[in-house]
Amino acid sequence: MRIQADREVCVGSGQCVLTEPAVFDQSDDDGRVRLLAERPGPEYAKTVREAVDLCPSRALSLGEDEG
């Protein structure tokens, strides 16, 4: 599973951070999403998918080699 985060689109809602703080963070400089892991292990698959669904600006997507 590979996550893509489009920082140009992110509105800093923090939904991703609330959902999976081990994978998503908000930058101290601009409040926008910062990935702590681009290819998180399978144990994060569920919460990462949830974060992608919750992201209000649709800034998050899952890359091709998702499994």
């Binding site: 800093g12 923090g14 939904q15 951070v17 703080p21 101290d28 926008r32 209000p56």
Partner: protein
Amino acid sequence: MTDVSTSAPTRELPAFPMARGCPFDPPEQYSALRAERPIARVALPGDRTAWLVTRHDLLRQLLTDPRLSSDRTHPNLPTPVPSLQAQAQQDFAPIANALIGLDAPRHSTHRRMLITEFTVKRVQALRPRIQEIAEGCVADLLAGPRPADLVSALSLPVPSMVICELLGVPYADRDFFQSRTRTVVSFNASPEDRSAAIRALRGFLDELVTAKEREPSDDLLGRLILRNREAEVFTHELLVGLAALLLLAGHETTANMISLGTAGLLQNPQQLDQLRADPALVGQTVEELLRYFSIVDAIPRVALADIEIGGVTIHAGDGVALSVGGANRDGVAFGRADELDIQRGGRHHVAFGYGIHQCLGQNLARMELEIVFTTLFARVPGLRLAAPVAELPFKDDATIYGLYQLPVTW
């Protein structure tokens, strides 16, 4: 589904806003509409029409569609009161043009000036102070007479004090801004009274912002002024409008959630018992109360181009009211959607909206609500309503739903 409605006379359309049956539930008509016409043509006061969206998936799809504009000054924006339109173009303009009424890409430029102030981390740093404020209010409540009004003892003071300290607005002026806010969000206020309230709020914040421009203080407004000196995003007028938006949205919404949430839990004692037995459930309790009460029901938008969706064509220029109450009770998205169930989990409710305008203050609101419910139910174990629910003064005449008073005893 065919588009039968565009030519139908206004009087045959369902009227919007719709009346509630049970004060805890959204209008009953929503469920029938959701099943039959999830995007339905409705009649607004003043001979206007709009589309009403009551399905969760369609609401999320539309709120992420750039063809829908948030322009609060557009004449077709679906507002519950016709006079609001004209006012949005005049008295409201600086507030309406601040963030919430902007479309991309201007919206992103404005929002980026603020998001560092509301990140999950920044809000977590406020926890000890919010806890202290909540403890103080609950201690005063306990020391005062019984029954007491929870709205004036807890619901309004906590978020008002928090947003005042965050923005750098004197809390001593609370009666002034709370009463003006009540007028601004009321359908029943006369246009003259509403204009006067808006002008008073703007005058008050104009002075405050001017002082901070001279001498930037270490608070959100001071930091914003400093940041703006480099970025040059906001005029003075827009800074005042933004301050008004943050002050208004920062206290009135959370206050209503505290009142309704408390009433909702007291009316569902098994739910409250579960929360008391396991205080770690408070986070998902707050999410469920947000979903259940949906205090900001209709999010207004206007179409900039034709949109084909759900079997209808929304034409360019049409107003669209996106019903949060409708979407949050959608049985496809939430099992037994009309039940309050704090075990539900999940955060896909749309109480904070969806899309680029999703609530900037949502993490602050969550934290305030968690702290207030935890503190209140722990410190006042015998808390109960001092009047039947049917007799409570619900805000049926306001753009943000809630309670004017909540008599409680213990």
